[in-house]
Symmetry: C2
Subunit: 235 residues, 2 copies
């Protein structure tokens, strides 16, 4: 039986074996929710980038450039980190270069994995269905908040573990913890997430609408996968 494991923070990633493993990176509020939304709305590809300066330079190469730091859009960029801005006609067919506080960093740190997928509640079932067909070991990597564990990413990890529980074996306690948390919180997900510290920060930025949207399950049938430096929809 293939194994399913969860890495609760990028700071713990060095403890996990990435070789021969499919990594599913998630940053529910809001980087990977944006990526999933963008690819569902006809964005051609997304290049995740660690540093603001490197992202800025991508404009010359014809990319739309997107940047978020501390929950806010960075001045001088075309796009921020709200999923709604990735539904606009203006992004259709475009290539986007994106840097965020946590999510893009987690993707870059996962480079040794066999495959890197990007997941969110929005495309949860597409991710689960694909993982079931591959039967390879899976590691869900939570982006967290500046290294600390956060609630919404752990909940998503738990949702994936639950979805795979018939055909995968949990290899560590983080998977079990995430699954218990998800099962407990599922009937009151928005209420639970509204208590959490990252959300308190985001609420001060006036983006409750984004939060509710990012917790919607299975809105999009899309499977974002890293191919070289680019994230593309392989469905």
């Amino acid at each position: 039986m293939p194994q399913i494991d969860v890495c609760l923070s990028p700071e713990l990633l060095h403890l996990y074996q990435l070789e021969n493993t499919i990594v599913v990176v998630n940053d529910i509020l809001r980087a990977t929710s944006c990526m999933v939304t963008a690819l569902s709305h006809g964005v051609a590809s997304i290049v995740p980038i660690r540093e603001l300066d490197d992202c800025l330079k991508m404009r010359e190469k014809g990319y739309l450039i997107a940047a978020e730091r501390d929950g806010k859009m960075v001045e001088g960029f075309d796009l921020g980190n709200s999923p709604f801005s990735y539904m606009e006609q203006a992004v259709r067919g475009k290539k986007i270069a994106l840097t965020t506080t946590n999510g893009t960093q987690a993707i870059k740190l996962s480079e040794k994995a066999d495959e890197i997928l990007v997941g969110a509640f929005l495309n949860k079932q597409s991710i689960i269905d694909y993982l079931k067909t591959t039967q390879k070991d899976v590691l869900v990597v939570c982006s967290g908040w500046k290294g600390k564990v956060n609630l919404e990413d752990t909940l998503f990890a738990g949702a994936v573990v639950e979805g795979l529980s018939d055909t995968f074996e949990m290899s560590n306690d983080s998977a079990l913890i995430s699954k218990v948390l998800y099962r407990d919180s599922k009937p009151k997900m928005l209420e639970t997430v509204l208590q959490c510290s990252h959300v308190q920060r985001l609420k001060r930025l006036g983006i409750e609408k984004d939060i509710e949207f990012c917790l919607t399950e299975n809105l999009y049938n899309v499977l974002p996968k890293m191919q070289g430096e680019e994230l593309v929809n392989i469905l």
Copy 2:
């Protein structure tokens, strides 16, 4: 209101401020459960030590020496990591030097804290009562398993968070996650813990009796606190 936070692994400890904070270190299976048991049975003091060699040298200084690695007692030492061995007449009044895979490491890493307490389910209420009287910020440090997050330490953290929830404010999601997990698992703690990966390892070592004992709440009224290099009962 003072704050309560949880560090789910020693690998994340550098992200937390320890100054002006009371740290509660726990390693439920079994280091801190042993320490609490020992101090409840008249052991004079315990010196946590990181390296096996340094621990071995303490014999010359009149200490009983105790060592565990990978769940097993290390050859050539007087004691291992089973709480029952710390109830014996032979340990009464003695000073013990102890090194373990995870728990003693977490104590040493917490040295910058204002106060370091050692907690386990066995003395849960004594810890909570003391923290309520101090009204200082608290960080529960889970020892985990070789850097990874584990279930039983997270459950204990959740038990402390729940015990303080009327008078302390949760400062991060790890506290919330732990609390939800504890509340969910409380009616079936042994059953939940028996699923977890560390316990699967320990079961192979034939110590189910230890596991059940270590999950017993409030058996001892004891408050182990680091004073210099020594852990002593301050009640």
